[in-house]
């Protein structure tokens, strides 16, 4: 089985201009992944499937991952010229202040592919593709024409995360019903409020129970005419 570096150089030799970079995996499993640029993904996939030594003909698993926006606070020393009153005299002085800049690093959605080879009996080779952001640019090329097993799994990622796979033969929701509007597996998904009784409510559940009780009381006591046992 070739290492990730060897596979990367093979891909770059066969598909010129392909954007491939290695994403290292610090855990003891040692399964490093290759990040592909979406523009050349289909050609790289075809190469990996058909190439004589790799023969990665079996796509085992397609996973969607949500990486939300990160707020990064950076501290920087800034030197500025200000006018200050020193000992009753106005002077222009250089002042060094430490300021905190907050910027938002755009999040993205990711699709991870695990490939094995049935013929050569080796694997896994892990590929990753990232979208530009989480809101409007969420397209990725579909690898279903190369490996049929991506068909249902990419539909599921579309359903639960919202990545639109261009070139997929039948992209519609898999697990949720068609009229459903959200993408539930995203980190910022808010569940609908169908409150139910919890005997030992604590933390978030208790907060939700309180909020629901306040809402109920606002609506009116007549709705609370439930018969007690």
């Amino acid at each position: 089985m070739k290492t990730v570096e060897e596979i990367k150089s093979m891909i770059e030799a066969a598909v010129p201009g392909a954007g491939v970079e290695i994403v290292p995996n610090p855990s003891p499993s040692g399964q490093h992944s290759l990040r592909l640029a979406p523009s050349h993904a289909i050609q790289i996939a075809k190469f990996l499937r058909d190439e004589a030594e790799l023969k990665l003909d079996f796509l085992s698993n397609v996973t969607g991952v949500d990486w939300p926006d990160k707020e990064i606070a950076e501290k920087a020393k800034v030197t500025r010229t200000v006018t200050k009153t020193v000992d009753g005299v106005e002077q222009t002085v250089d002042e060094t202040v430490e300021e905190t800049h907050k910027r938002i690093e755009a999040g993205f959605l990711e699709a991870v592919y695990h490939l094995y080879s049935v013929e050569k009996k080796h694997g896994p080779v892990v590929l990753r593709m990232r979208t530009v952001n989480r809101t409007d640019q969420v397209e990725l090329p579909s690898l279903t024409p190369i490996w049929r097993s991506a068909e249902f799994q990419e539909r599921e990622i579309f359903d639960l995360y919202g990545i639109i796979f261009t070139g997929h033969p039948d992209l519609r929701r898999l697990l949720m019903w068609d009229a459903f509007k959200d993408h539930p597996m995203r980190r910022d998904y808010v569940e609908p409020d169908d409150f139910d009784y919890e005997p030992t409510a604590h933390d978030e559940v208790l907060k939700r129970a309180q909020a629901h009780k306040d809402k109920e009381q606002k609506i009116g006591n007549k709705e609370q005419g439930s018969t007690t046992a």
Binding site: L175, M176, W177, A179, F180, K181, D182, P184, Y189, E191, P192, D194, F195, D196, Y197, P199, A201, A209, H212, K213, E216, Q224, S226, T227, T228, A229
Partner: protein, 218 residues
């Protein structure tokens, strides 16, 4: 008016059977409950195991499991009811002919079970249809299902044909068809059937006391 037990036994020894219409009617119904073959998830495997050779459910009268709701008396909801499946469950319940009963088998059917904090899980099927017997467990043992069956039989025995507390199928004013929920954009609409289930009232007791209560009986 029931007949005195001692007198019944004495007459029975002489070969004379004395009963009331109500008892006879209920006896016939309780001993031939045909369940509908309605397994949703893991509890369905235990339900199938209950009908197999070791824990034979057929000796209690559940001889055949009918796949069609028109031919069944009992719906054993075994497994998690999801919001995608809930309209189908209510529709099937509506299609069953009266008298019909529901057993909610397993924690998922009672209240959502271990999957309660889920966006697709209905927190208990008794939000939409009236349930007669609840069986806790995950999954409940086959013996628990048999006990639930016997509890249902006892309940049928205690049903009166006339009077205020007569069952639904003899009461012309009781609700016949239960409304089927519609799958909306974020959730089922309506979230529950107010005629069958109401949000339990969380009462402020002493300290942190919460007491849940209040489901209307069918």
């Amino acid at each position: 008016m029931a007949v005195d037990e001692g007198l019944k036994i004495e007459l029975g020894k002489q070969g004379v059977l004395v009963t009331t219409i109500e008892e006879l009617y209920n006896w016939g119904r309780r001993n031939s409950i045909w369940p509908m073959q309605f397994g949703l998830a893991c509890c369905a495997i235990e339900m199938i195991a209950t009908t197999m050779a070791r824990y034979d459910l057929a000796r209690f009268g559940a001889e055949v499991f009918r796949p069609s709701p028109r031919q069944a008396d009992l719906m054993i909801i075994s497994g998690t009811v999801t919001k995608k499946m809930a309209p189908q469950v209510v529709r099937l319940y509506n299609q069953m002919a009266e008298p019909k009963y529901v057993i909610a088998m397993g924690a998922c059917a009672i209240s959502g079970g271990p999957f309660k904090q889920g966006y697709n899980v209905l927190k208990g099927i008794d939000r939409y249809i009236p349930v007669d017997v609840h069986i806790p467990g995950c999954p409940p043992r086959p013996e628990a299902l048999m006990q639930a069956f016997m509890t249902l039989q006892k309940k049928i025995d205690g049903q009166h044909l006339t009077g205020e507390d007569r069952p639904r199928f003899l009461n012309a004013e009781a609700q016949g068809e239960f409304p089927v929920p519609v799958q909306g954009e974020h959730d089922l609409e309506p979230a529950s059937n107010p005629g069958v289930w109401t949000v339990p009232v969380v009462m402020q007791g002493t300290g942190n006391g919460d007491q849940g209560s209040g489901n209307s009986k069918s």
